[in-house]
Symmetry: D4
Subunit: 251 residues, 8 copies
């Protein structure tokens, strides 16, 4: 960014750019304004990096508008999260999307070969946590990570979790997904020596209060290296895990 | 109780008791009313069973009044819980109390020899949960149970808990006490095949909300056989554990 | 479990098992991994003990997969809880299930003759709490307990509850189910001398907050011997009650 | 009030009062403004009716100022609630107050002979609820009611409550005060056929959340005729009970 | 009740009743147990008093069963509350019900002539609070009270409320119903000199949290004589208001 | 108002009005009572000022009744908010409404030329906050304000917000609408030197708790000049913004 | 700000400033970094405008450091809010502060003559809300506004509020401060035609939950023109009121 | 760990270890049990890695016991967090601790030279968040990281944050600490391309609810790469940041 500003200033110095033009340029940002959305184009500049559209709360038409803007600006790989089957039915007419019903993720463009530091392990407390876990896993894969899935390993049957000890202890980053068994993050965090990203899910019943109980349980974990993202935020966990798994490369 | 009513009715039939006397008797209950408290005398009837006074929110003088009423009615063993050191200083002048500062329990009369089905295991997540755990443990001991203490076995270091696996799997009843690591109840419940009584404590910090997070975490446990008592209610857990540990004997 | 490990180690000593095989065996646990679920097979080992599938959040196909795995491993009696009528319609084509619409429980295999210490009493505050109560009662019956039902005995009409005093005072364990009248657990706990398992239900209205009010009311009970399970968790209460009612037998 | 307005209007018609004077009079209200407080003088007009000062959050000097204003306006009986011992020490120098440490109520002027429809029963769940109960009872007495106290009759020992059945069934109004045993209001409401005013108290521990649990429990009572006032609001309950107990007289 | 017991005891004394029969009689209560419900028959004993069935959470068949039991026991006037239009369609085939869609109340038997102390005023903050208000008003009318309706008098337009000042100041009891304007109870309570029953409703939006905000606002009212019933509990308010409005008559 | 009272009083003095008529007049208020609603007619008196009907919780027929009353009293411009498409379909048969599906606002009568102090800027954190923002914007326009829309400028991409810095710094009032990015109000408040009205929306997911998180975040803003209206209350924000933007004119 | 940037760019064009110097200047902001605080110096540039230091959570020494930095940069009038008496004792040794114990505000420099559009009215529900109200009032005065105080006008005695109707209807902006009577904002908002800023206070008891109940009540006000600031945030209300009261002047 | 087990098994195969000894060894864990605590000795095995003692809820004597056990097992560098000044006064007599009053951290042994991937930036919203920030910063330094402090950069004055843009964009990991301005995490997360660890603090007032508001605000951040730790958990953030900053080295 600094260079861009420097360029503008040098243009002013050299008389190539007027003061008013410079004023305008300094305000211009790398996004396109299409009224209902300001489409970020940051990543398309760095060739190959995927861009993400959060599908919920947007109409199929709005998603289409954003997608078109991205494509027109050279973006080649796009991930659409929280895409309902209904909206997918509309969008697939136009784009060659790879859609997964369970995770409600749609991908435009093929995932790259994994190039992270190591493997990202995605664990769930139960079977019903899998959709959120898949959002996390597919996001991580889309951003170039190798993912291992450890499903239904809730701590109430600790031997099931222990049978995955090997995968847990060898992971670079672990994503622990649970709606009832918030304890999963604690136990995994105690076993592993790597960052653990806890994702509460809203799938429990009774006093699970839409994921709040799991959220609190995860925040209160005494295990070091555990942090928490929003309830059901599989994408956020997958993205952050990828970021951590590419630490050396990024800097 | 039924017999008592039957006796009264037979007395009426036989003319030994007048109708009015019977009316009165039917209403008379086994407690003494001393104004600020209705002192239960149920247990003194069953010789040897201890009686309990909840000390919080009562003045030393009120506790004294209740104690005297109990003693006067033949009660021989009394447990006073939540007794502050200040009140103990006053009461010890009069009664030969065995007081424990950590649990704030005072006992009048010696504990009986353990006669339960098996052993009650009391586990804590951390060091600061010990006072509540001791209230549970000492209550259980006072009611005639053998107790084994497993302290500081929070699940964030699962190997510490696993080192106690033997004690956990051989217990009759387990009391799991934790303020931050509500997960303890889940893991213990998954390991054991016996009833687990979970006690949330208020000792955590941050989003532990005075034990609420641990409480919710424990309620959401997927392990079968786990139930929960009120935050910091060590006495309740110890008493219930004793009740379960004496199942056969009681009926 | 200990024996199993001992066997493996003796096999190593005697040369029957190689170190690597032993390593693998030590990690192998008594469950089958079918991808979306790790199916526990613990109970099938102890011939005759029923196994449970929690039906909510699982597709009919997933439940089928788990059932098949259990059957293939010799499990003979299976209880499926929280099974919607829709999923039952699919599953009944394949398995001879005994399904109860009110409790949403489906049983595979006949219930055994009751062999517990005594009777389990299941009480409800109102008529609308009955579905949860039935989940508890049928679970208890499936695990070999005699159950007595005391429905619509909310404390606002204490004489209705008092008319069941006999059943309450003779029960081995009591399950108190209520959505509005959380007080039920307190009163029952005060009347009875046995463990009381309180189950808050989510059927109330207004400031009942989906069972939260009943939950708090039950946790705050001053009656000794009361503990609480999750909102609507009829299964958990039934299972725990059975566990307590089989105390002597289990050890 | 209507008469007062009519008087003013007739004065205008008759030329005794100018339009501007009338305008002013219509706006003048029966209270005295002393800067930090607007002192109501409504009741002093109706000779003999007591007036109330809520002492919390007011300095001794402010209470003094309000008291003086009332006395100067002919008020003869004043009740000061929530008066700390410290403030009482200051005020007693000046006024002949009857102060009760437990309820923190101070009364100026003697209570009248009871003249209500019947008796007001004040019941508490435990010993530690007595201070709030006394605030209610003394308020009711100050407003001319006969009060019967039923303390420590929590429902966990239902026989203690049942021993007071007579008093409960003969009361005109019942005030049920409880911090842990919110159930008290339900049971009492089911036994009695008169209005029950429930007062949650903040004296519990654990998941009582400063009276919130009792409050919710009381609101969810299925007993007809139960209503609730704010946590610890003994005065409000006593005042409302008096109002109901004087129904006929008031109209 | 006392007489009933006395009769039994005298029967025992005189030999008319055996001890066992007396035991049974003493336990027999004035309700009929029809499995899913214990039908109270108290009121049918006091000829003419209406009885109430809470319709929510009960099937049409269950309501029918309860109704039949009541009728068979001589009950002549029955009020069914929270009766959905669907269930009404089924029940009207059998009973001559007077049904009101707005309040979802159905009445069997004609309302009596009002015989209370005075008039019950039912006020609402807005138009959408009317259904709950009607439940209160129709309940009060069914129990023999004269009702005046003051709808849409929220305090944000205080002149609308002030225009009803006359009705407010002459009422015996006031029911203040509001979902957003919890303030209504405070202002009405300040204007009137009679008991005010506040009913929070769940009809608000945003931070009204299903009536919780109105509930808290009403509990915090500084006006004397205000008490609160559960959210949307129009029946409870109407019943309590009737009880208060019949104070003299009842005792 | 004062004049109106003065007129009445002068009429009394001059004998044109009797005392009783005056009493009645003093009570008469500028609204029409149509049973289910008290229709305010204040604004119609001040020619040209629009009047507002809150459509939610009212039937189409009720809205029609209120509209007719307003029109009959000379009201010329009416704004109906929270009008569902279904109700609009009914009402449009009768009135020439300008309806906007996104904001669910319907306007009767053309908006006036803007006459406020300056421009009102309406900003949203994301695309899904737009419906609430449109309710605010259209309300402001209906009350005679120039509005500039700044949509999808959430602070997680601060450059998007910064690109609107000019509009933010030149606005008279800013409305910040956000469901997830409650931070928007803080950042905007720090940038601008004018009043900022924050509107939390209920469109988030996870721990957004229906707008509660955004609400709290906005209330905790350290920026001076920020205040908050209810969740989703676009109308309230638009109305208040208009009020502020017409400050000089109003007084 | 725009001009400043333009100056820099013109300097670059004219060769007076190098590109690097310009880069630095563009990043330099009008604040001084003193380690533990970044002291804003914005207002000192606009001669005469006061600057504010939030005293809570800062040591006397830190406040001193910030004050010195401000004074050194030409700031002449400073308001310190939430300044405890203890810290004031330290600071008064060095600065000629005008300190008010009730509001805990300290002012350096004399308040200017009021120059706003009209008067700001500050109303409180009770006597104990006065400290927060004074913070608001003194802040408004410090920023050049005329303030009228209307204390103890809670709606439970609506006549007290009505006696201030004149002041309310003539105010430019109203600040409504209340801890229990959140209703105050609604009623005031309904009476007045100007912006109302509601300030919940934490001084209530029982279910007031430290101001939360008042906060919710205020947010749910149906009166138009009402917005809310944080609990106890008297400063925020006073500052915003001043901003609104200077609308014309500011632009 | 695997090797250790392999060694044991090979010992059994080779006859060096008996089966019973192996059984014992397999259960022996690398911690020391000192009654009230199970002291982890994991890190002392990996020479040079520091070990941590959480000081809150432990007596000085207990901390001493744990420290001695660690030292006796070869641990050379120890960090004690949440150590009150009082306990420090006791401990410093025995150990050469480097204590910081603000962060309440005490370090035994000198910090190593930084060897992480890059720099960890620690930012705070205000001055009063600094103690928690220092706990994070000193923890990170103790684990071998270079730390840059960016204090008092709350988003309400976005220019202050922008002046640190350089440091933010060049950091490896960012820790955002805030009690009122939870928005800080969002804005920082939007600016940076690295993992952001958000730490809510409990230092706010009003509706900050002890950090809950900031916590929720941070969880709802729309910025990618943001995760959250418990309220006030500076240590957790510092430790996790270090873990991420050493990604390559660790694996």
């Amino acid at each position: 960014m600094k260079t861009q500003v420097k360029n503008i200033l040098e243009g002013v110095r050299d008389g190539r750019i007027t003061v008013d033009e410079a004023l305008t340029s300094l305000k211009t940002q790398p996004f396109a304004d299409i009224g209902y959305a300001k489409v970020d184009l940051h990543r398309s500049i760095r060739q190959g990096m995927p861009e993400v559209i959060y599908g919920e709360g947007k109409t199929a038409r709005q998603i289409e508008g954003i997608t078109d803007t991205m494509l027109a600006n050279g973006q080649q790989r796009i991930l659409i999260t929280r895409l309902s089957a209904e909206k997918y039915e509309i969008l697939k007419e136009k784009y060659p999307l790879a859609y997964n019903e369970q995770s409600r993720c749609a991908a435009l463009g093929a995932p790259p070969a994994p190039d992270g530091i190591g493997t990202i392990a995605v664990a769930t407390g139960g079977t019903s946590d899998i959709p959120v876990a898949e959002e996390a896993a597919q996001t991580a894969e889309f951003f170039g990570n190798k993912v291992v899935r450890l499903y239904d390993v809730g701590v109430a049957g600790i031997h099931r979790l222990m049978s995955c000890k090997e995968e847990i202890m060898h992971a670079s980053v672990i994503i622990a997904v649970a709606g009832m068994e918030g304890a999963l993050a604690s136990v995994v965090g105690g076993l592993a020596d790597c960052p653990v990203i806890a994702v509460p899910t809203s799938v429990g019943y009774g006093a699970s209060f839409g994921g709040l109980s799991a959220l609190l349980s995860m925040l209160n974990s005494c295990a070091s290296g555990v942090s928490v993202v929003n309830i059901d935020n599989g994408f956020g966990a997958g993205y952050l895990a990828s970021m951590i798994n590419h630490m050396e490369a990024e800097k």
